[in-house]
């Protein structure tokens, strides 16, 4: 496979976007088909590129002019994250009806995400990520101008931070190429910039950030594609940081801080979910909650933790594709998706959470406390999921039975994939080994079980029979009567201090400049003064500059 083929996963969606725009006059369905084809083609290209060589491929097309080269690199990590980002995006572009403009912008955003993931250096990743974030904002505005969307600044900050980290690496180490940065160059300050970029670009924050609010829009077309692409991209940065540090972050307390942040994110999502007034608001918290657990697992700093994070990311990817396809009405699809998100055994989310928590315990020290908090958070999320079953739908979106069936199938896939977790581990071992050393004996030596420090998870032997027994038993069981109509339910608990925090926030927002002082802060008056072209002002500023220059 010639190295130039590494451009294919980026070029194919761009080409599809051009075709979709060009064929728009022939009707939306054609543009939709073209868009779906482009997304699937990018996914297929990544698969083919990797499967034909099964090792890292690199392409360098020379310097771009601002200190970085067009260096593309497809290694195991890039393949894993590419698949995690592209799979749900392709599904959504296939199943959701979109206008040609939305399809075109979505395809360009997908191409930008692939560029960010395939890029061999940090500055190019920042460019790809910033492009994807900008196009996400454009998607939101095309879809519904009045609905809530992330502020443009909030999605730009992380990529500016990453660009800054990249150029700082260039200055201090002479390069921002992932594979060439010396370990000593990854200082705490640079890592802090990378971490800020990762957390903010994916919206992984404990409060109700944009990653939650986008799921409350009337339409979920732009929200789902954005969540499917930007969430993995954020966590991708933290995984690449392991490569920069030769499998470690600069300080171990950074691992602990990030893991704690991840649990706080999951706890925040669970606490809001258990108080959600409608099922749609509950569903808005599921993906961010999983992202919190994924962050906690990835931050632990071991191969098992990283694998657990990848599993949780894969689960969230499938759920991201399922959520917008769910109908409003109560029924098996909503129940299955909620169960899958809550981590009911022996599902993929269950396996990922168990591995992540087990790894945190085995990491020792304060990580054990983080693990206890994580387990408690998991149960709160489970309680919230159970409570959500009887809630009002909260939205007036119609979804066809076919889409509901697809959502249910995706939920079942998450639930049924648990036994395969060890097989997945043996497949992704190479990817994990490219950023951090594997434990002696490997992660999953026999594709049947995963070995942690103190235990072994017999994924296939234990979860397999449980899955079969469960499937048979549930099929033979008698569904309980729908004992209550949808109703508004009281929260399971009030978050301590939440009301006080809201009061303080409202007070701060209500602060204004007293009437008698407003004239001092009248921007219009300042503007009139500045543009008046008065020589007196010019001479005064000349004197001021003279004083400044004489310092």
């Amino acid at each position: 496979m010639p190295p130039i083929a590494l451009l294919a996963p980026i070029v194919l969606p761009v080409a599809a976007a051009v075709v979709a725009a060009a064929t728009s006059r022939f009707g939306e369905p054609i543009a939709r088909v073209v868009a779906a084809t482009g997304a699937w083609a990018a996914l297929a290209a990544i698969g083919v590129l990797w499967l034909t060589v099964r090792s890292t491929q690199e392409l360098s097309l020379g310097p771009l002019g601002f200190g970085v080269g067009l260096d593309l690199r497809l290694d195991g990590v890039a393949v894993v994250f590419g698949v995690i980002a592209l799979m749900p995006a392709a599904l959504l572009l296939t199943l959701q009806p979109r206008g040609w403009q939305e399809s075109t912008v979505a395809l360009l955003a997908i191409a930008a995400v692939v560029l960010a993931i395939e890029s061999g250096n940090m500055v190019l990743t920042a460019i790809g990520g910033c492009t994807a974030a900008t196009l996400a904002v454009v998607q939101f505005d095309i879809e519904d101008l009045r609905a809530v969307r992330p502020s443009w600044a909030s999605v730009m900050i992380p990529w500016i931070a990453l660009a800054w980290a990249g150029v700082t690496l260039q200055i201090q180490a002479g390069t921002a190429t992932y594979a060439a940065v010396p370990v000593s160059a990854l200082t705490t300050q640079i890592f802090a910039l990378i971490a800020i970029a990762a957390l903010l670009s994916a919206g992984i924050v404990p409060w109700r950030g944009w990653a939650v609010r986008i799921w409350m829009r009337p339409s979920l077309r732009a929200a789902s594609v954005t969540a499917a692409t930007l969430l993995p991209l954020g966590l991708y940065l933290l995984v690449r940081a392991y490569e920069l540090g030769n499998g470690r972050y600069p300080q171990s307390w950074l691992n602990l801080a990030l893991a704690t942040w991840g649990v706080l994110v999951a706890l925040g999502a669970a606490a809001r979910a258990q108080a959600a007034p409608t099922r749609s608001e509950y569903m808005a918290e599921t993906v961010p909650g999983l992202a919190g657990f994924a962050l906690m697992s990835i931050a632990i700093g071991t191969a098992v933790g990283l694998f657990a994070g990848l599993i949780l990311l894969a689960s969230s990817a499938l759920l991201t594709a399922a959520l917008p396809l769910l109908p409003d009405r109560r029924g098996p699809p909503a129940l299955i998706v909620a169960a899958a998100a809550a981590g009911v055994p022996p599902g993929l989310a269950f396996g990922g959470r168990v591995l992540g928590l087990a790894d945190a315990f085995e990491a020792g020290n304060a990580f054990g406390l983080v693990a206890v908090a994580g387990a408690a958070t998991w149960l709160v999320a489970a309680a919230a999921a159970a409570r959500s079953v009887g809630l009002h739908a909260g939205r007036r979106r119609q979804a066809s039975d076919v889409l509901a069936l697809v959502a249910a199938v995706l939920g079942v896939a998450v639930l049924a994939a648990g036994p395969a977790v060890a097989a997945v581990a043996s497949i992704t071992s190479d990817a994990i080994a490219s950023v951090m050393p594997l434990p002696t004996g490997g992660l999953a030596p026999d594709a049947l079980s995963i070995i942690t420090v103190s235990t072994t998870l017999p994924a296939l032997a234990l979860f397999g029979p449980l899955l079969l027994l469960g499937a048979a038993a549930v099929a033979l069981s008698k569904p309980g009567p729908v004992t209550s109509a949808a109703q508004s339910k009281a929260p399971l608990f009030e978050v301590p201090g939440a009301a006080a925090a809201i009061r303080v926030r409202d007070q701060l927002r209500s602060w204004t400049i007293p009437e008698q002082y407003r004239s001092l802060f009248d921007p219009a008056a300042l503007e009139r003064l500045a543009v008046g072209g008065r020589p007196a002002l010019w001479l005064a500023s000349l004197v001021a500059l003279a004083v400044a220059v004489s310092r």
Binding site: L335, A339, A342, G343, V344, P345, P346, F350, R353, V354, L357, A358, F361, E362, G364, N365, G368, L369, A371, V372, A375, A376, W378, L379, V380, A382, A383, A385, A386, R387, V389, G390, D446, L448, V453, S454, T455, T456, L457, P458, L460, A461, L462, G464, P465, L466, L469, G470, A473, V474, L476, S477, K478, P479, G480, T483, S484, A490, L492, F493
Partner: protein, 269 residues
């Protein structure tokens, strides 16, 4: 492939027969009868005639058999290295929420239940922090003097939480649809998971012989009877006193335990 089938067969045996579903059913039946007698409730006749079981009971059964398979019970076919405390704790924890999802009318005070479950989870996982191991038998075996205070305090918290988790407290569900007392099969399935986990975590693992079996189940029965005793006392004191106990005593005590765990962690480093 042979290795897969052999290990799958062993795991299935521990899931379905021992210490899995069958053991859970027998143990639960006995203790539930005892509780009914103590609580002066008409037990109702267990209906052994075949009928399609309610989905909620099926889900609970699947969860508890997964949990029971992780116990350090003698002759457990699941290899000791394959057992995981997190799986056991989470599977048991899920049972309450399966009921809330499928039969919400039968769950009393879910909010308070969640708080108590959090305390219980701390008593289960807290002792695992310092040993940095999730193998139940390792935790049961941990008799290092420095860890004993945490272990004892956790065991006490576990027992305090047990009556509420087993719904032996005098809190009535939102809508009891049953006209006459009926055998509570769901609760019966929870006796062994909770009590067996208590035995696994806080007592040294028994040997794989008859004495070991007697010791394991004897300890579990004692834990169950202690739970019944506390439940009876709570029932006599009334709902408000029970609620007060869990909100004003058990929850603060769990924070105390958390402090003890942190202190132990700091001192043993």
């Amino acid at each position: 492939m042979t290795h897969l089938f052999s290990s799958a067969a062993g795991d299935t045996l521990s899931l379905v027969v021992y210490p899995g579903l069958l053991t859970i059913a027998v143990f639960g039946l006995l203790i539930e009868v005892a509780w009914s007698a103590v609580a002066r409730q008409a037990i109702g006749r267990p209906n052994f005639r075949w009928r399609r079981p309610p989905t909620v009971q099926v889900i609970v059964a699947l969860l508890v058999m997964l949990a029971a398979a992780q116990f350090a019970a003698p002759f457990n076919a699941l290899p000791s290295a394959d057992r995981n405390l997190v799986i056991a704790a989470i599977a048991i924890g899920f049972t309450a929420w399966a009921e809330l999802a499928l039969e919400p009318e039968l769950v009393a005070r879910p909010g308070l239940l969640l708080v108590i479950q959090g305390c219980w989870l701390l008593s289960v996982l807290g002792p695992a922090i310092e040993p940095e191991s999730l193998r139940p038998q390792v935790l049961g075996n941990a008799l290092v003097p420095a860890l004993l205070p945490v272990k004892v305090a956790s065991g006490f918290l576990y027992l305090l939480c047990l009556p509420a988790l087993m719904r032996l407290w005098p809190m009535s569900p939102p809508a009891e649809r049953r006209s006459r007392p009926r055998f509570n099969a769901t609760r019966a399935m929870l006796w062994f998971p909770y009590c067996g986990l208590f035995t696994t975590l806080f007592f040294p693992p028994p040997t794989d012989d008859v004495a070991g079996v007697v010791r394991f189940f004897g300890t579990s029965v004692i834990a169950a009877l202690t739970c019944v005793l506390i439940g009876t006392v709570l029932a006599q004191r009334g709902a408000e006193r029970a609620r007060g106990l869990y909100t004003r005593a058990v929850a603060p005590y769990s924070f105390l335990l958390l402090g003890l765990i942190v202190a132990t962690l700091a001192l043993t480093r």
